[in-house]
């Protein structure tokens, strides 16, 4: 498996706070990789650095072998590297369908296509399919802001799928979701990976979810890479247990 995303010795500080220190990791094409760590360990900062939101202090980030650490957020997104947010973000005053339609991949379109009609049958069909996939088809004409938090989370996931990314980075996809829905979500994440060929890089606090989902897991603590390995290796790593249970 070739590397889709390579992060090499990335550091990022906010003033005196070292949020990420010398982090290296790799996400192979077609895989599902997990990122765990206690609160404040720098997971979301790392995500934001990768997608170009924060300029990194040093190190290198390569996507499909190309350096992206100097590109801006929309440019990186158009390469096919997308992230969802921990605090769910959708376009609240627009309907679910409108949310989906405007999320259709910009990568394959020029700026001129901005002036094409909203009701392209192929795009609408794709949008409906993806809403169906996450179980929101019946809600498609509702204002997205009127959905419950869990539904908004699913909508955000569907919008990301609509964009047809190569790599999708999910920041706590199950946080705030009704526990009865979590199994369904894990299943959908796996299907997105297998059916649509989307590589996943997932931040997750729910251990049961991440152990089920990921093939390879990285663990951060205090901004540094603490451990890496298969779910079993991580589960039994004493350093990881210490970091979570606070044996320092």
């Amino acid at each position: 498996m070739s590397a889709l995303l390579e992060v090499e010795s990335v550091s990022k500080a906010f003033g005196g706070v070292q949020a990420n220190k010398d982090i290296s990791l790799m996400v192979p094409e077609g895989s599902i990789v997990g990122l765990i760590g206690p609160n404040g360990s720098g997971k979301t900062t790392l995500f934001s650095s990768i997608v170009g939101q924060y300029p990194i202090d040093n190190g290198s980030i390569r996507f499909e072998g190309e350096e992206i650490s100097r590109l801006r957020v929309p440019q990186i997104a158009r390469l096919g590297l997308l992230r969802t947010f921990q605090q769910t973000r959708i376009y609240g005053q627009m309907t679910c369908m409108q949310n989906m339609i405007i999320s259709a991949s910009v990568r394959k379109r020029g700026f001129g296509e901005m002036f094409h009609g909203q009701h392209d049958p192929a795009v609408s069909k794709h949008a409906e399919d993806m809403l169906e996939f996450v179980g929101l088809y019946e809600k498609r004409l509702l204002r997205a802001g009127s959905l419950s938090f869990g539904q908004q989370k699913l909508l955000e996931f569907a919008m990301a799928l609509m964009n047809e990314p190569r790599l999708l980075m999910l920041d706590e996809p199950t946080a705030g979701i009704n526990p009865t829905l979590i199994n369904g979500l894990i299943d959908r994440l796996k299907r997105a990976n297998a059916q649509f060929g989307i590589t996943l890089f997932v931040i997750e606090h729910n251990m049961r979810v991440i152990m089920n989902l990921a093939e390879h897991i990285y663990c951060l603590a205090h901004g540094e890479l603490l451990a890496a390995g298969t779910p079993d290796q991580i589960r039994n790593d004493p350093n990881v247990l210490d970091a979570y249970l606070g044996a320092h």
Binding site: I101, I102, M114, H116, S146, N163
Partner: protein, 354 residues
């Protein structure tokens, strides 16, 4: 009657009213022309302020640039502009424009006004539209004020003394009627443009930026190009409206007519809010209601007209922040293609269909 037919009849009736209005109300030509200019102000303000969520207090910049650009072309095609503007000070030369010269001046001046205003929007937009929220609002406010001050200090265009619009030739009769139809045509054109724009992906992109710009960026939308394009489109229409305004007012004062932030700059925001921000018809309705009220205040409350207008602004902003159509959209979402799930009970209780 089904809905499309009813809509068609509605549009036809409005068009017919617009065409017939100067004959129905012969005493109000300039007020009616001003009404259509207000419709353009409110519609274009709302494209950026309502649909895209960037509240600009500096759109008078484009009106003013258009006003001067058009006047300078109208004069400059036939006379030396510097001599023309300095003659206001007492030089007794009378600058005469015959019908052909006047019409040629307008025909060339208005497109030039459009282009210049559009370019100004692209240049300043690229810098200013990087700011958000209040910062953007304050910055645009500054742009409008600064432009007025620069115009007031620039001798070539008459500086603080202002610049007269070209004298209208007697052979053309009442030019106000011509200007009325130009303003009416511009309002219709602007409405059609915005209506078409909102049905494209571009329209959705504007709404996406309004709802969550960070998300739009993270989804790969080229937000800065979208924002500048929208502002430039608004500016082109405002530039033309400025050209018409200058001729309608007959005299271009840099601060009271061209870059009139205190009046047009505030009013256009108010009209959009009164009618309903972020709706297609809201600005049109808002502009109409506003212009009628304003004229009523000026006619019946003379001396207190500014007080009445100020009170109205306070009442609108405090009690009707959503505007006429915004209120209707809340009450009757079905009219606007929205559906509200009245059966929803908090979280989804069951597993969504597989």
């Amino acid at each position: 009657m089904n809905v499309p037919v009813r809509k068609l009849v509605g549009y036809a009736a409005l068009l017919a009213f617009g065409v017939a209005a100067p004959y129905l109300f012969p005493a109000y030509h300039s007020q009616l022309a001003e009404l259509w200019l207000f419709v353009v102000f409110a519609l274009t303000w709302d494209l950026v302020g309502g649909q895209m969520g960037y509240n600009s207090f500096g759109n008078v910049l484009f009106i003013g640039v258009g006003t001067y650009a058009c006047a300078v072309v109208q004069v400059g095609l036939f006379y030396n502009v510097a001599n023309y503007t300095s003659s206001d000070g007492g030089d007794l030369t009378i600058y005469v424009f015959d019908a052909t010269q006047f019409l040629t001046g307008l025909a060339v001046g208005l497109p030039v006004a459009a282009v210049v205003a559009g370019l100004v929007a692209i240049v300043f937009g690229s810098a200013v539209l990087g700011m958000r929220g209040h910062y953007f609002a304050i910055c645009t406010l500054g742009l409008g004020v600064a432009a007025g001050q620069i115009a007031a200090g620039w001798d070539w265009i008459g500086a603080g003394g202002g610049m007269s619009s070209p004298n209208t030739p007697a052979s053309l009769g009442d030019v106000t009627v011509l200007l009325y139809y130009l303003a009416f045509g511009l309002a219709v054109l602007t409405f059609i443009m915005i209506r078409a724009l909102l049905s494209t992906r571009f329209g959705l992109a504007l709404n996406a930026i309004r709802d969550d710009e960070d998300k739009a960026e993270a989804m790969g939308l080229p937000t800065i190009y979208i924002k500048v394009t929208a502002w430039a489109m608004a500016a082109v229409m405002l530039g033309i409206s400025g050209g018409i305004l200058g001729n309608l007012k007959r005299f271009i004062d840099p601060i009271d007519v061209a870059f009139a932030g205190e009046t047009y700059g505030v009013w256009m925001v108010l009209m959009a809010i009164l009618g309903g921000k972020g709706t297609l018809w809201g600005p049109v309705i808002g502009a109409t209601v506003f212009q009628v009220l304003k004229e009523v205040f000026w006619t019946y409350l003379l001396g207190w007209q500014r007080v009445a207008l100020g009170l109205m602004i306070v009442v609108i902003v405090v009690f009707f922040p959503q505007g006429i159509l915004g209120w209707a959209r809340e009450k009757f979402p079905e009219w606007f293609g929205h559906r509200i799930d009245r059966s929803r009970t908090g979280e989804t209780a069951r597993e969504p269909a597989e």
